[in-house]
Symmetry: C2
Subunit: 331 residues, 2 copies
DNA sequence: ATGAAAGCGCTAACAC
DNA sequence: GTGTTAGCGCTTTCAT
């Protein structure tokens, strides 16, 4: 298309200007906290003055480190692209990676074939790091050794795989306590999918809070989507007609619940309170506006990206984020 | 972290197996539709048999082509990350780029400094191509020559910059005709931001359809977001109390309008019909469910990515996508 | 058309 | 610690 682009100022230039070899210049610029030799300082200064920007591509080729961080989404649905949560996560990662001159890729796999996906990523020379979304225990066990140190999980982690997580137990507890505090006594729940480990905390919170309050349990299995909410609501109303609150495992599920209740002329929150989980953009816009638990998706994604982009500084990255009650009008 | 990763099968291996030099093998694999020499065929066959996957990183270093396609978003807001449309676009691009072993980056710039952003991208060796979102005429004029052939615009284009677009004139016309057909006679509009060229088509559709029907115009300036909808609705009700329909330039704006109407006890669609534009996920979930125009965001993003990823095959990529009325309950 | 050779810009062994 | 020497895997002159 256009003439070949050459790099503005290369390491070679910097080295020459600083009066050292390329290798020394390279080390001076790379070394995290090594000794503070005069040469090192000089190189750094010269590089800064000349506006040297290391070429990530060359770096990747020489070092065998890749050029992209891939967001690997495990799930039942065929396209995580329709999931606002996944899109937001990917976009935030794309911003974070950009700051390091790297790119981001989005790949999806059914939960069952996660091991194969991980194996592929492990041998792919273009992948710099991996962010696992919707992590399962099996997936954690299947992480190849070659991915160690450059993979991070959103949700549950393991000895080998660091994680960035949200305190969903606290968030769910806050939501449920809110329901109890506002006088609800027949609190039903549409559960999250069974295969997602970190979602089980919502079930724990449900059991705990209801036990504390001496209230009866009434939970039905569910999933991630609106359809699960519709089915769940129908089942709940059938089995426990005296239900006065529904805790949905995700906002999408809550929307399904709201739809069914509206269809049956049930007043929300008058007759039945409804609470979701996630605080997607639509939550604030629904009618009634959804009471839910909010999560800093952007900060979570940024933290995860940081962990794989700069393993050295990973220790300084916050790994746990809050899940907090947002009280709107549905509950 | 882990041992150096080497490529499974390199071009060198293929060349040797095919009994030719690396250069020949490279050419054989690259040439689009050159002559069909026996050697070329043999190389291709051998490569396929050996499962050769060219290393995008090496390719980028040698050829000066980059490793990532950057989604450059122009806008007034500080973070396009909160915009579901931008997130979806980025995620779809991240999937498309992945198929070519490349990554995606997301970068934002105020409309005013678009030229600077474009200049930066033009000299950045890591960028393979650019997808411009929310393109303005000024931005098109500012596209550096070095970006020619590897930049595509979503929305308006120019001689130098190909575009992937949606037929928003048709979509808006369909929405407005629907309002007229269902008996609305005082149709107001909350306009899109003035600086976005492709959005002006909605204004054109509004003028045309209303003129055709012999109806009076009542438009107020607006923007992209919920707040613009709130302000717009208030202004409209004040100036034209007999309004019986509102056409909002985006779904978010429509949500703002709905909020105000609900607050004033106006029945939608009984008293006033409301229609949006875009069909974001929340549109189907709002109450009343939003009548709007739907756009295949995913296909649009994929097409745009394809244009910059494979300029040779760009001619075969669909460049215009439909904008179609989705009738729900708000109008 | 093909091969030999020269890089792309950087990192990493290896000696000193 | 520093310089020297090899590459990383591919594309692209330049001769032939």
């Amino acid at each position: 298309m256009d003439g070949r682009r050459r790099n503005a100022v290369t390491l070679e230039d910097v080295a020459r200007a600083a009066g050292v070899s390329r290798a020394t210049a390279s080390r001076a610029l790379l070394a995290g906290g090594g000794a503070v030799t005069p040469a090192r300082e000089r190189v750094r200064e010269v590089a800064a003055r000349m506006g040297f920007r290391p070429d990530p591509t060359a770096r990747a080729l020489a070092g065998g480190t890749g050029t992209r961080i891939v967001v690997a989404v495990l799930g039942a649905s065929t396209d995580p692209l329709d999931d606002p949560y996944v899109s937001a996560m990917t976009a935030a990662t794309a911003v974070a990676a950009d700051r390091h001159g790297l790119g981001t890729a989005l790949r999806w796999s059914p939960v069952a074939t996660a091991p194969r996906l991980l194996a592929e990523l492990a041998v792919d020379r273009t992948v710099h790091g991996v962010v696992l979304v919707n992590t399962t225990w099996d997936a954690l066990d299947a992480v190849p050794a070659a991915l160690r140190g450059r993979i991070v999980s959103i949700g549950v982690g393991s000895d080998a795989v660091p994680s960035v997580d949200v305190d969903s137990l606290a968030g769910a507890t806050a939501v449920l306590r809110h329901l109890v505090r506002t006088g609800r006594r027949r609190i039903a729940m549409v559960e999250p999918p069974r295969w997602l480990p970190c979602a089980q905390r919502l079930c724990r919170a449900y059991s705990t809070v209801l036990a504390e309050a001496g209230l009866p349990r009434s939970a039905v299995p569910g999933g991630f989507g609106v359809a699960d909410g519709r089915a769940g609501a129908a089942a709940i109303l059938r089995r426990w007609p005296d239900t006065d609150a529904v805790f949905a495992a995700t906002d999408a599920v809550a929307f399904g619940v709201l739809e069914v209740l509206r269809g049956r002329g049930v007043d929300v929150p008058g007759d039945i309170a409804v609470a979701g989980f996630d605080d997607v953009p639509a939550a604030a816009l629904s009618h009634p506006a959804l009471t839910t638990a909010t999560h800093p998706v952007r900060r979570i994604a940024t933290a995860a990206a940081e962990v794989v982009l700069d393993p050295a500084g990973a220790a300084a990255v916050p790994r746990s984020f809050p899940s907090e009650l947002v009280q709107r009008t549905s509950a």
